[in-house]
């Protein structure tokens, strides 16, 4: 019995690694974006489920990572690989600086605080025209590559598919080990009762900040990959609704469920894509795609919160009688 979950994971990994080879170009793009969303959501799920903190600013960190990688590669002539490696570090650094005052807030205050952080980030990116190109954005980001080998041409999407999903799997693996370790237990105590954790000797402030910084670093990493893949970014690429979309994915998958991140990111992305496709059908009203996606976001958030407050993956675990191992 013990090997079955591992067996499922192996199967999932095999499918994921085969998909880039068989998917057509259009679907491959969606596949890549799901992988990037998984990275961001896995961090957010840790933050919300284990540290009990809501963040409505994950897309702000995503933006910072994207800009950091793009600017390093374009204006400083750094190798894209180093740019990509620096992106999560730079994002983590900023998260550390913002997190120190911000994490004194809890619950809805933190939600509004991180929302404000996202909006301030966007307005700074829009205002600093000399560095970021302002609202018109940052074009001409050099292609990803190592030394003379450059990722371009027909295989670009396949390589990015592998890059995004290998990074996603690595973050999931890291999270799985993290939640089973001593810091993971401390985090769960923190989520249950901050005062209780504090009384049991958990340094609450430090752990909260560490998870916050880790979730930001994940978002920064995903942002870096995004910047190299699309090669054009602007403040408009990271709207407020994207932060909410990450929150929806984390909620759907199950807060604090490690594998929930993949499930949530995949289900929500596919549903939204399906409705977008439906909305652009001939005969549909002009604004149907926007209407559909907003309606779906709303319905999912409300529905999941009322019916499955713990999310899909934990609920399935309950149905199939498996012990919650995470």
């Amino acid at each position: 019995m013990k090997r079955i979950p591992g067996g499922w994971a192996t199967l999932a990994v095999a499918v994921i690694l085969l998909l880039p080879l068989v998917l057509p170009e259009a679907l491959l793009t969606i596949f890549i974006f799901i992988g990037l969303a998984t990275i961001v959501v896995s961090g957010l799920s840790l933050l919300m489920g284990f540290a009990g903190q809501v963040s409505l600013g994950q897309a702000g960190f995503y933006a910072i990572g994207a800009y950091a990688a793009a600017l390093l590669a374009r204006d400083f002539g750094v190798s894209p690989l180093i740019g990509l490696a620096v992106a999560p570090v730079a994002t983590a650094l900023i998260a550390c600086i913002v997190g120190l005052p911000l994490l004194r807030l809890r619950g809805h205050y933190l939600a509004f605080g991180t929302l404000a952080f996202h909006l301030i980030t966007l307005s700074i990116l829009g205002e600093a025209k000399d560095i970021t190109g302002g609202d018109t954005g940052l074009a001409g980001i050099p292609p990803f590559g190592i030394g003379p080998v450059v990722v371009a041409g027909p295989f670009k999407s396949i390589i990015f598919g592998y890059l995004a999903w290998i990074l996603a799997l690595l973050t999931l693996l890291f999270n799985r080990n993290l939640v089973r370790s001593r810091p993971g237990r401390a985090l769960r105590a923190l989520a249950a009762s901050e005062a209780g954790a504090l009384a049991s000797g958990v340094s609450v402030g430090r752990y909260k900040l560490q998870v916050f910084v880790l979730s930001a670093a994940y978002a920064g990493l995903a942002g870096g990959v995004y910047a190299f893949y699309v090669s054009y970014i602007a403040p408009g690429s990271f709207p407020l609704v994207e932060s909410i979309e990450f929150l929806i994915m984390a909620t759907v998958g199950g807060l604090g469920s490690v594998w929930g991140a993949v499930v949530g990111a995949t289900l929500v992305s596919l549903l939204v894509q399906l409705l977008q496709a439906l909305g652009t059908f001939p005969g549909m009203p002009l604004r149907a795609p926007a209407i559909f996606s907003y309606a779906v976001y709303g319905l999912i958030l409300v529905g999941v919160m009322l019916v499955l407050p713990s999310g899909i993956v934990p609920a399935l675990r309950l149905v199939f009688g498996k012990r919650d191992r995470s």
Binding site: A111, I120, L198, A295
Partner: protein, 288 residues
């Protein structure tokens, strides 16, 4: 100096509108301990509805009144969903109101499209103490005064108002003396919706609203509401006025694009300052 007074006057007027939204947050939070993320939507809904009603030839005051009533009813509806289940935690309620806010975009776009709309308010200028003010600004300030006076009367002199106060100070005791706490929660949400709606019909002539204007309105209202820790309407009013004037001055003397950033920074500063003075235990009670 005249310029300064003009900026300050317009700041007071927008501050008054923020105060109405903020009081909506406070009314809902006091009774239900839920922070309603959809608070800005009521303002947008009422503004757009008033626009349509005026377009159909409904006379001015009636159109605005109907819009405010509809906003109040939709507020109660949001409350009904957000408070729907007994075991819904405040965190879940927060996400539910966020979901309702985002979902309402679909309806708003479906009915009114995705472009900003506006309608004419009071025309002309008034001279107040040598400062020329748009009549609509004076109107916003007067209506806010009336609304606050009415709220004071409602909370202190009526049965429902006192019931709401009872629920906010001790829900258990309120239930023991026979007050229906759940129904009071719905009343609070309805009141919050109507206050947001009032802000919406007053603001729309001054600055056009689009379906996603609710974020800015809600953030300003929330920033004002936390001056009083989300519990004191009077402090929220002062907070809103400070915020409105500060934003108007930043926009007037500095850059208009920095206006919302200034509001956000003020909000963050106050929140962090307040949080640093609260102990872990009181904060957990706040969230529980």
């Amino acid at each position: 100096m005249t310029l300064f007074l003009q900026y300050a006057a317009s700041g007071v007027a927008t501050g008054c509108a923020f105060a109405l939204v903020a009081t909506g947050f406070v009314a809902i939070y006091r009774v239900t301990r839920v922070v309603n993320f959809a608070q800005g939507v009521f303002a947008v809904l009422a503004g757009m509805l008033a626009f349509s009603l005026l377009g159909w030839g409904v006379p001015h005051i009636l159109a605005e009144f109907v819009a405010v009533v509809v906003a109040g009813v939709s507020g109660a509806a949001v409350g009904w969903v957000a408070l729907g289940r007994r075991d819904t935690t405040p965190l879940a309620s927060l996400i539910i109101t966020l979901g309702l806010g985002i979902g309402s975009y679909a309806a708003l776009i479906l009915i009114w499209g995705d472009q900003p709309i506006s309608f004419d308010g009071l025309k002309g200028n008034l001279l107040v103490g040598g400062v020329g003010m748009q009549a609509q600004y004076v109107m916003v300030i007067c209506m806010t005064g009336v609304a606050f006076a009415a709220l004071g009367w409602f909370f202190n002199r009526t049965y429902i108002g006192r019931g709401l106060t009872a629920c906010s100070s001790n829900p258990r005791a309120a239930r023991l003396v026979g007050i229906d706490v759940h129904a009071m929660g719905l009343v609070a949400f309805g009141l919050g919706g109507a206050l947001g709606g009032l802000a919406g019909v007053l603001l729309t002539p001054l600055q056009p609203v689009a379906f996603n204007s609710d974020v800015g309105i809600a953030i300003n209202g929330f920033a004002a509401a936390i001056f009083g820790g989300l519990l004191r309407p009077g402090a929220a009013l002062i907070g809103a006025l400070v915020l409105g004037v500060a934003e108007a001055l930043v926009a007037g003397y500095g850059q208009a694009s920095l206006q919302s950033g200034a509001a956000l920074l003020i909000m963050l500063g106050i929140m962090v300052w307040r949080a640093s003075r609260a102990s872990v235990l009181t904060a957990e009670e706040d969230n529980a």
